[in-house]
């Protein structure tokens, strides 16, 4: 089962023929993902690395029956590509691109409302259902199939958590990077809800960071709705206020969006806290034993 993507996922890459687009599409295909096409305006009708290329997302979807798109378009044009995918009614759009202007994402967010599309990202490592399908830039080999769902705003910190799990021979159902931008397509709660319904997921790791209140809202949702155990780490306890810590969204602006404030609410809502990112694997092992 898992969530979002599986063996039946048919992927197209928007921005396929670029260096990054090509590299990561081939990595995903090597992992076992069914890559059915790509989009690069002006290169329609050609074959790139054995993958048919189309000029528009509409055409690519019509010709290939694709049900997922990975966006590798440079930041200045990425929102346009995402909007094209929404208009073409692509069910799942995963945007890897980092650095999309906020005002562009505000328009994308408004378009998503009431549409047939779900957007994951942008500024994210992508989604992987180990052993079945990888869409994104994460190293496939550190994952193993299993029953722990992972949701995170950060790329490398997700790898860290996954690695700790795999070392303990705890597999993952699906790992979802929701991205480090202040405006994104899918939030913690959306994914938590999917994991709660997914029979293959027994526990969830949620990795948040400073900035915004998404983790606090997720904590309250968990308390009300979640029957499965959740382990959480919030990055940025040592971050100074008012400084943007690498991610566009990782900035403490008030009292509610510090790591301390988030840890506190998570704990109050019955979430198992890992104060150190090195404890994530161990904490999951503990909650699974209960």
């Amino acid at each position: 089962m898992a969530i979002l993507i599986n063996r039946n996922t048919r992927l197209i890459t928007i921005g396929l023929t670029g260096k990054q687009g090509t590299f990561h599409t081939l990595q995903s295909r090597d992992y076992g993902t069914n890559v059915v096409g790509g989009v690069t305006p002006g290169k329609g009708g050609t074959i790139h690395e054995g993958i048919p290329v189309f000029n528009t997302a509409y055409e690519a979807i019509k010709e290939t029956g694709a049900n997922a798109a990975m966006v590798f378009v440079p930041p200045a044009f990425a929102a346009d590509s995402i909007i094209e995918c929404i208009e073409a009614e692509m069910p799942l759009i995963i945007a890897i691109t980092e650095g999309i202007p906020i005002q562009d994402m505000i328009k994308v967010k408004a378009m998503l409302k009431g549409s047939k599309s779900r957007l994951i990202g942008p500024n994210c490592p992508g989604v992987i259902t180990p052993g079945e399908c990888k869409i994104g830039i994460m190293p496939g080999h550190i994952h193993m199939p299993g029953n722990v769902g992972v949701i995170s705003r950060s790329g490398t910190l997700t790898y860290e958590a996954v690695f700790q799990l795999t070392q303990r021979e705890i597999g993952q159902s699906t790992c979802v990077g929701i991205g480090g931008d202040p405006v994104n397509g899918t939030n913690f709660i959306d994914i938590l809800e999917m994991f709660e319904k997914d029979p293959d997921t027994k526990a969830v790791i949620m990795i948040g960071e400073i900035g915004g209140t998404a983790e606090t809202e997720a904590a309250r949702w968990i308390k009300k709705n979640m029957t499965k155990p959740v382990v959480s780490f919030i990055a940025g306890a040592a971050a100074p206020k008012g400084k943007r810590m690498g991610h566009a969204g990782a900035i403490i602006s008030g009292e509610d969006d510090s790591a301390e404030a988030k840890f506190k609410v998570l704990q109050e809502c019955g979430v198992t806290i890992a104060r150190s990112p090195a404890e994530l694997g161990q904490k999951v092992a503990e909650v699974l034993k209960k």
Partner: protein, 389 residues
């Protein structure tokens, strides 16, 4: 990116937002020249630094004569202005804005920010103008009125009325306020602001609606389409190291500890600072080398870290994804040799090509402490920094 008040006001004028007449001066003599050209009996001399709270710190003075303009400009120019936003060291004032005075009737607060929950631009106004708005939001949240803007319609007169009536405005003043809000929203969206804050927005005895102060921040990711905003950058207001790092695609923030950090990925870089603190250490910096780092950027990262003389040990923490461990290892070895590294170096590598990376490090002949995992790396870095003299 931040700009000065005088630059923010230039942009406001472009968008039809009322501001007082004024001009910028670098010397007391220039200040007098600017003041002479303003048709007014009183002048306001305002320090231009990228921080709020300038008035309380003595950076804003009301002058009643040209002599006073000169006197205050002399006092303020060159002063180390300390406010609650500058830190104890303060910021050196290099420019003053000379503005005409006005007869204030009432002070309000007006801002536009991103509401991250809804993903919409959001107006915030309050009758508590001129105050620290974070304090108002905390103590009396009911005094802040919000209005979300639907990106499909943009600003509408209805939003303007909601905000204006909430402030108790009426008649011609209300109409002027609506025009003010409309202009501010256009400026905010068309110039890709991330914060617009008018504190205070004032109504005058003559019925005008004016921005007495103005703070604009811009979305760094949108600067590519605003060369005119990029041209307003004041490099004297920014950290030289952070700017230099940015040129190489490195995200660097200086902190006050003694363990230099070189990490890939913003989340893991934050997590590394956290775990150092948990084990009793203090990080000297945040540094994300990014996913596309090369041998050269790793070398640059080392030289930036080492410019900080407080650094007593360096922790390299890499989880190779796109980034391959062997590339990092080569960069680390070259940098350590070229910079003849004196401080202890602790390296933790994991992920893509990890075996090759570890081999490069162990065969380098350099004194490198290898760490097995994240916790081990933090403990070894903390111990090394404490052991160093």
């Amino acid at each position: 990116m931040n700009v000065h008040e005088y630059q923010a006001k230039e942009l406001m004028r472009e968008f039809g937002i009322s501001v007082l007449k004024g001009g910028i001066a670098n010397t007391p003599a220039e200040a007098v020249e600017v003041a002479k050209k303003l048709d007014t009996k009183v002048w306001v001399v305002k320090a231009q630094i990228h921080a709020g709270g300038r008035g309380k710190g003595g950076g804003v003075k009301l002058a009643k004569s040209l002599d006073e303009v000169e006197k205050y400009a002399k006092e303020i120019l060159g002063m180390q202005l300390v406010t609650h936003q500058t830190g104890p060291e303060g910021k050196k004032v290099l420019k003053v804005l000379i503005e005409q005075g006005c007869d204030i009737d009432h002070e309000y607060y007006c801002g536009i920010v991103l509401d991250r929950v809804t993903g919409q631009n959001t107006f915030m106004v309050s009758i508590e103008g001129g105050m620290d708005i974070e304090k108002v939001a905390h103590d009396t949240p009911e005094k802040i009125i919000k209005a979300h803007i639907n990106p499909a319609t943009g600003f509408t007169p209805a939003v303007g009325r909601k905000l204006g009536y909430a402030l108790g405005l009426k008649g011609e003043t209300l109409n002027k306020a609506i025009k003010f809000f409309d202009g501010l929203y256009k400026l905010y969206t068309q110039k890709d602001c991330s914060i617009a804050e008018i504190n205070p927005l004032v109504t005058t005895k003559t019925g005008d609606v004016l921005a007495l102060d103005g703070k604009l921040n811009f979305d760094d990711n949108a600067l590519f389409r605003h060369p005119e905003i990029e041209a307003m950058r004041d490099v004297t207001e920014e950290s030289a190291q952070e700017l230099e790092a940015g040129k190489f695609g490195l995200s660097y923030i200086s902190l006050d500890g003694n363990i230099g950090c070189l990490v890939n990925g913003a989340g893991l870089a934050m997590g590394t600072l956290d775990i150092l603190k948990i084990h009793g250490g203090t990080p000297a910096n945040f540094l994300d080398v990014g996913g596309g780092a090369t041998k050269e950027t790793v070398q640059k990262a080392f030289s930036i870290i080492l410019e900080d003389k407080n650094v007593k040990a360096i922790l390299v923490n890499i989880f190779g994804g796109i980034m391959k461990c062997d590339i990092i290892a080569n960069g680390v070895v070259d940098a350590a040799k070229e910079l003849s590294l004196k401080v202890p170096l602790i390296v933790r590598l994991e992920g893509t090509n990890v075996a090759l990376g570890k081999k490069i490090l162990s065969e380098s002949g350099l004194k490198i402490t290898a760490a097995n995992d994240l916790a081990d790396a933090a403990q070894k870095a903390v111990a090394a920094a404490k052991g160093a003299k």
